[in-house]
């Protein structure tokens, strides 16, 4: 009788037993608590570091910022290891990716783990807008690779939209002095159109619309769009009033 019961138990379906649900839930709680503790400590360390920096500055000493993160990276790395393989690890890995700064080894390792183990996570929604900024430490190719991996492996529309936005907007940002080369421009147009397909309304959609306008209308060789508006004396005038002259159009402010 006992043997049969044991076998039956071993062949039990893989649905979580109540005890297991509790265990998963409490692991999530403890991970969240650990993350909160670490980030609060880090925030205090940053405040202290800024305080010391301003004292140093007043004393005429040179100041190096961004050092507070250095001590915390190993602790976040340990936490990520403690929760490895579960969604709980993602918050720690994301923190490292965004805060390890010039420690490109730590940034790379965390990003690698996120891509390898957590490609389908919804948490990429928060990370995506920050990926372009990682070009400085990780290089353009690495960033492009990561974006492509997420697009290929992540099922969430919100995540995909953020990646398309990040990729398209990066082309615009990089085109400061020289307009984007033709192929990059076309890719960016396709990416920003995808954003609008996936999220038809809201701030992101509006930003994508503006980006598309720039890519499609404000490149060298294109006719300048009309501007109609008041000058600082309230007199209305148009940009086209100056046709026949060479014009420098200067967006400026006194701040």
């Amino acid at each position: 009788m006992h043997r049969i019961v044991l076998t039956a138990m071993l062949l039990a379906p893989t649905a979580l037993l109540p005890a297991q649900v509790d265990a998963a839930g409490s692991k999530e709680k403890s991970a969240k608590a650990a993350y909160q503790l670490l980030t609060e400590e880090y925030s205090q360390a940053q405040t202290e570091s800024r305080r010391l920096a301003s004292i140093a500055r007043e004393a005429g000493e040179r100041v190096q910022l961004g050092q507070a993160a250095v001590a915390f990276v190993p602790r976040f790395q340990q936490a990520a290891k403690d929760y490895a393989g579960s969604e709980n690890a993602v918050q720690f890995l994301t923190w490292i990716t965004l805060n390890a700064g010039s420690d490109s080894d730590a940034t790379n390792a965390a990003l690698n783990t996120l891509v390898a183990d957590h490609i389908a996570s919804e948490a990429w929604t928060a990370l995506a807008p920050r990926l372009a900024g990682l070009s400085r430490t990780l290089g353009d190719e690495r960033v492009a690779e990561t974006m492509a991996s997420v697009l290929a492996g992540n099922p969430h529309d919100a995540v995909k939209a953020e990646i398309f936005w990040a990729r398209g907007n990066k082309v615009i940002r990089d085109a400061y002095g020289e307009p984007a080369p033709a192929d990059k421009r076309l890719e960016a147009i396709a990416d920003l159109r995808k954003v609008r397909e996936l999220i038809p309304n809201g701030d992101r959609a509006e930003a994508a619309k503006r980006g598309l306008f720039e890519l499609e209308n404000l490149q060298n060789g294109m006719p300048a769009p009309e501007i109609v508006g008041p000058d600082i004396d309230g007199v209305e005038f148009k940009l086209s009033d100056y046709r026949g002259k060479v014009v420098v159009l200067d967006f400026w402010g006194d701040w």
Binding site: P179, E214, D231, G244, V247, V248
Partner: protein, 103 residues
């Protein structure tokens, strides 16, 4: 910014050239009554409205950093972007020369 803009306007005052600003200061009265005098503004500017950097003209042109520059030829075609100082002068002079050649 201001010294270069002023000197460009002065140097080219007899040429078919215009420096046109799009100003994003929120306080129009301060801009009109103080800044204009203190900073010796010698060029015309559109006012981007009370929303400052979120105003309609800069939004339409997708401006997200200040200053942002577009250089436009006499046919109204955009020819360069974000050239400052000497680089700006070079492009402007080139476009003026082009205009003279085209007659």
């Amino acid at each position: 910014m201001y010294p270069h803009e002023r000197s460009l306007v002065k140097r080219l005052k007899d040429k078919p050239f215009a420096l046109i600003g799009v100003n994003s200061d929120e306080d129009l009265a301060n801009l009109r009554d103080k800044v204009r005098i203190e900073k010796e503004l010698t060029w015309r500017s559109f006012w981007n409205g009370p929303e400052g950097t979120s105003g309609p003209i800069s939004q339409a042109w997708n401006v997200f950093g200040w200053p942002t520059i577009y250089i436009i030829d006499h046919n109204g075609v955009i020819r360069a972007r974000n050239k400052r100082g000497e680089a700006m002068d070079e492009v402007v002079d080139q476009l003026l020369a082009e205009m003279e050649r085209d007659g």
